[in-house]
Amino acid sequence: MTTRTADRAPAAKRADIASREWKGPWRRYDIVKEGVIALVVVSILTVLLAGLFSSPDEPPLTFQGWATSAPDNFYATAVQELAGTSTSAGYGPPYNTAADGISVGPLAPQQRFGVTHPVDAANDFVITPLRSQLQSADVTDALATWDSASSDQQTAWATDYDTALTDADGDATKVADGDYGPVPVLAQGLTDMASAGALDGILMSQGVFYQTDFTKQILFLGDGSYLDDAATAAHLQGNTWGMMNETGSYPGQAWLWLYSFWYQIPQFNSDNPDDYLTSHADAIIFYIMAVLSLVLLLLPFIPGLRSIPRWIPIHRLIWRDFYRTQPKS
């Protein structure tokens, strides 16, 4: 550790040694040999780790798997898509205009950039897939009834049925009598399609031949409990370090620890979703991380932070051999 020297060195001698050519002693150092050895060592380590541990590859979930293993949940989700009460249907930008999205103070980028990946939950997830294949007579009739109704009528049927289904704890056989129009038949028709495996392919194509965009499938899959339950079972939820973890007993993206860390703080994942920090966590944590990344980037220019290495003299250990031969400063 140094303190300011009482007798200041002359200007020429105070010239920063770090910024000019080294005039002190040298040692032989073969960087090419070092690089080749490093490459060999890393290659061997990689082959060993890959041979011993393989790599994670849990098969993706399918709509068929969802509709066969949790048909009630799939059915209820189909009703929510028609009623506009699902997460996707009420998401807002960039998928639709059902909500404004998150804003923090004057920053409202989600709204600013608008709808760039349009998703119409009722039509994209339920009506268009049903119409894409030959259906039984009751589903065909239900589609015709749905088409001929006004949009207000469609919403009334679907929301009434959604409420009644929720009141019946998701059991379609115990739903109270009411005017639900074609909604129960449409939801059952989609559940049957999904169980048979047809929905996976039809959601993919939606009128195009080539397709590399899975936005609709991911959103629909996430609206039910199937994906969520699978993620909970695999410890992938945001409040258990989320995507920093990996399926199986594998290390995940440990380098995302600081990003995931903020979501572990109770204020950012409180039980009350209306708490400001919890409801705005996605935006606030991103801004925190952006600022911290900038701090790391500009560390050499930040007084105080850049002096930590001097205050905690780990460099005395790193360069211990050299300091031993140096006159004390």
Partner: protein
């Protein structure tokens, strides 16, 4: 032609002098007689040609003995110095295994044993890459390695770190398995909340695949090369508060004794 003969051929008076050294001229050609043609367009230290200027700038900034030095200052004597090159070595393994995976396409490793093994090599070389890079970063922080006009070296290193995180993230999205389904579902909310989701759609496999296999590795590679060239041209940072033989009695940095400035 020697370095101290500045372009003699452009002056007609010098033509004879040039032709006097026959080794420089093709026999039987009329080159030596044409005053507009330089019979030896070799190294000309004062040429204003763009090519010459670029070469001179390169040679003054990074001559071959700085690009590939066979010596280092005596203070370069710690295992902490090998983590930069270990990171580069892991990056090479990632590139090679990634090229094999890219050649075969994203679905290959789900159904083929060699494919799964290649994927495992890719997976573990990425884990090693980040382990080495983080240790390298810690080392450079505690050495305050940004001192002495080396701030850009630090900055390119941090950018390479951040770009690597982005590259790895898109890699997890193109695994086309349950993990990528969940990551795209979960990550979309954070990206949408700050408007990035409008342009960078984590559920768009095509976009993520091209970013992961093409654009982002290129970004990481270019920044890494820049970073290494900066290290070579600036040299390895001397120890904090060091004195070398030339100023062996006074502290190196009386003006900045409590700060570790770039």
């Amino acid at each position: 032609m020697t370095a101290d003969s500045p372009n003699p051929a452009v002056e007609p008076d010098n033509v004879q002098a040039v032709v006097d050294s026959p080794a420089d001229v093709d026999t039987g050609s009329s080159v030596g007689l044409d005053p507009t043609v330089d019979p030896d367009p070799g190294i000309d230290p004062s040429s204003s040609m763009w090519t010459s200027r670029l070469r001179r700038a390169w040679m003054s900034k990074l001559p071959p003995d700085e690009l590939l030095p066979d010596r280092q200052p005596a203070y370069v004597a710690s295992w902490i110095y090998v983590f930069g090159v270990l990171t580069l070595a892991a990056f090479l393994v990632i590139l090679v295994t990634g090229l094999v995976l890219a050649f075969a396409g994203p679905a290959w490793y789900h159904t083929s044993s060699p494919g799964l093994f290649t994927n495992s090599l890719h997976f573990w070389s990425v884990q090693l890459f980040f382990v080495f890079m983080v240790v390298h970063l810690w080392g450079k922080f505690w050495m305050a390695a940004w001192r002495g006009r080396r701030a850009m070296t630090w900055i390119t290193g941090v950018v390479a770190f951040l770009a690597s995180i982005g590259t790895a993230f898109t890699g997890y999205l193109v695994q086309t398995n349950f993990d990528s389904q969940w990551i795209s579902f979960e990550a979309k909310d954070g990206l949408n909340a700050v408007g990035i989701g409008a342009f960078f759609n984590v559920a768009n496999l095509g976009q993520m695949l091209l970013l992961h296999a093409c654009l982002l590795p290129l970004v990481v590679g270019v920044i890494a090369v820049w970073h290494v060239l900066l290290v070579r041209s600036r040299g390895v940072v001397p120890p904090i508060d060091t004195v070398d033989t030339e100023f062996s009695v006074t502290p190196a940095d009386g003006a900045s004794a409590t700060e570790v400035r770039p």
